[in-house]
């Protein structure tokens, strides 16, 4: 059984891709319209169905004793998908099936300009009206996933593949998804690593002092990816070219290509460290490195406490 979930921005070709994909795979296509009508009829009145279409919070109401509409929907969706391969459009399926082994989670997006042009042609509306339609649709999609699962549907981490259909057509996207599916199903050589080295669980770093640990805590609060002492830069060599001195900045923020060195020690060590950083900047001119001195660190912590995280 393979489940492919497809989350789409309105008019990003998501529905067309899902339909073509289900056709090629010869599997069922599950979308909100057909699924709710066919699978919730026994527990939902026409009024309930109208409310479910309008308000995400209605899904949190009790549908059966001890079960909300949301829970019933999830159970029945899982049951339907387990009957064979399925392409599921929307309904927060990327989260419902996030732990499903082998499931593929796809999202389609496109620029507002492109989507607007598609809405204009599809609904014969003005540019302004098209933007409003998109704005409302995006809000509703966002509200649904946020209200039911506390997640942001635009977060790329929820997906295996995000396809921008500004310049990709339905066929391009279907081919990309099928290629990914094929690769996933390919029998693996037993010697081939199952996961990328990046995904291998890393040992928690051993910090040299509490200031470094506290600083790592602040970076975590801001949800910033960081690496601890990932690189050592040679900064001096002897006459034979042997490295005589090197420098390993404490933190690296890959997203911002920034190294950070924490210096909360005595002044005599600070001077030596300043010299090293100066040398580092001379030898590696493109490098971004910031030093956090004792005073900076204390005022950062102080401001942080005062503003409860809104430090800038």
């Amino acid at each position: 059984m393979t489940v492919i979930t497809l989350s789409r921005q309105m008019c990003s070709l998501g529905d067309e891709i899902a339909s073509e994909l289900a056709g090629r795979l010869g599997c069922q296509l599950i979308d909100r319209g057909n699924f709710l009508q066919q699978n919730l009829q026994d527990i939902a009145t026409p009024a309930d169905l109208r409310m479910l279409a309008e308000s995400p919070k209605y899904y949190l109401r009790e549908a059966l004793p001890g079960s909300t509409f949301k829970q019933v929907l999830e159970e029945r969706l899982q049951k339907a998908a387990h009957g064979g391969d399925a392409v599921i459009v929307g309904m927060g399926a990327q989260i419902i099936f996030s732990r499903e082994k082998g499931a593929l989670h796809i999202r389609t997006i496109a620029s507002i300009k492109k989507r607007s042009a598609r809405v204009k042609s599809q609904y014969r509306v003005s540019a302004g009206e098209a933007e409003n339609i998109l704005l409302n649709a995006d809000k509703r999609h966002k509200r649904y996933v946020s209200a039911l699962y506390g997640a942001d549907n635009s977060d790329p981490a929820l997906y295996d593949l995000v396809l921008n259909t500004d310049h990709l057509g339905v066929e391009d996207c279907v081919q990309a998804i099928l290629a990914l599916k094929e690769e996933r199903e390919r029998p693996k050589n037993p010697n081939e690593p199952e996961i990328c080295p990046d995904e291998a669980p890393r040992k928690p770093p051993v910090f040299k002092n509490t200031a470094e640990e506290e600083f790592a805590g602040i970076l975590n609060m801001y949800q910033m990816d960081w690496e601890y002492e990932p690189k050592t830069f040679p900064i001096s060599w002897d006459a034979e070219g042997n490295i005589t001195s090197a420098f390993s900045p404490d933190f690296y923020l890959p997203k911002f290509d920034t190294y950070i060195e924490i210096t909360t020690m005595n002044q005599k060590y600070v001077t030596a460290k300043n010299r090293k950083v100066k040398k580092l900047r001379e030898l590696y001119p493109g490098i971004h490195i910031s030093i956090v001195y004792k005073h900076d660190f204390n005022s950062l912590i102080e401001r942080f406490k005062m503003t409860k995280g809104e430090e800038q």
Binding site: Q9, I109, A110, Q223, F256, E311
Partner: protein, 190 residues
């Protein structure tokens, strides 16, 4: 008919007001620099689909004045961040408490800030917005303290450079007060 006198916040008349060391930037300094920034942004973003994003709350006056100096049909939107507590004081996370209403995919985003110090907050926002696929993302800040910068964030426009002073007014607060001063004052650290 009696004329109602002009109402301007005068700190010298308020007993518990913070002690002002000096006026760091007068109303005139600010308005003149804001107009210059407006002209630069108008020139640089001509012909582009511009979305200007205000980071609440400190930026409200700067955003209101700056956007009125932009000669382009820019879309305006607002964001706010706050701390969500975790199970301990060390495990809270910064989260968006007011998200954008407009879609920024494929559009040119200019984030407007009152002050950038370490760059952690704006870095968090930039990181979040980049995931939505904008055509470009830049920052315009009224005040910049590059000496305190930790994160390499794309500050493209800056009004004034500052050091580590304690500032308030023109949107900046102390315990949510004094934002409505029309100038920026340097105050004694309490």
């Amino acid at each position: 008919m009696n004329k109602i006198p002009d109402a301007t916040l005068d700190l010298s008349q308020i007993p518990d007001a913070p002690a002002i060391k000096k006026i760091a930037f007068s109303e005139q300094d600010i308005q003149s620099r804001v107009a210059e920034l407006g002209r630069e942004i108008t020139r640089d973003y001509a012909g582009r689909d511009l979305v200007m994003v205000c980071v609440l709350k400190g930026t409200l006056y700067f955003f209101a004045d700056l956007t009125r100096c932009i000669g382009l049909p820019a879309a305006l939107d607002f964001m706010a961040v706050g701390m969500y507590p975790g199970t301990t004081n060390q495990t809270g996370v910064v989260r968006i408490t007011k998200d954008l209403d407009v879609d920024i995919t494929g559009r040119h985003v200019l984030v407007i800030e009152d002050i950038v110090r370490t760059g952690l907050t704006i870095g968090y926002l930039v990181q979040n917005m980049e995931a939505r696929g904008p055509a470009s993302i830049n920052i315009c800040t009224l005040l910049d303290n590059p000496a305190q910068r930790l994160v390499n964030v794309p500050v493209a426009y800056r009004g004034f450079d500052v050091s580590g002073e304690w500032l308030l007014g023109y949107g900046m607060d102390i315990h949510e007060k004094w934002r409505n001063l029309p100038y920026i004052a340097e105050v004694e650290k309490d």
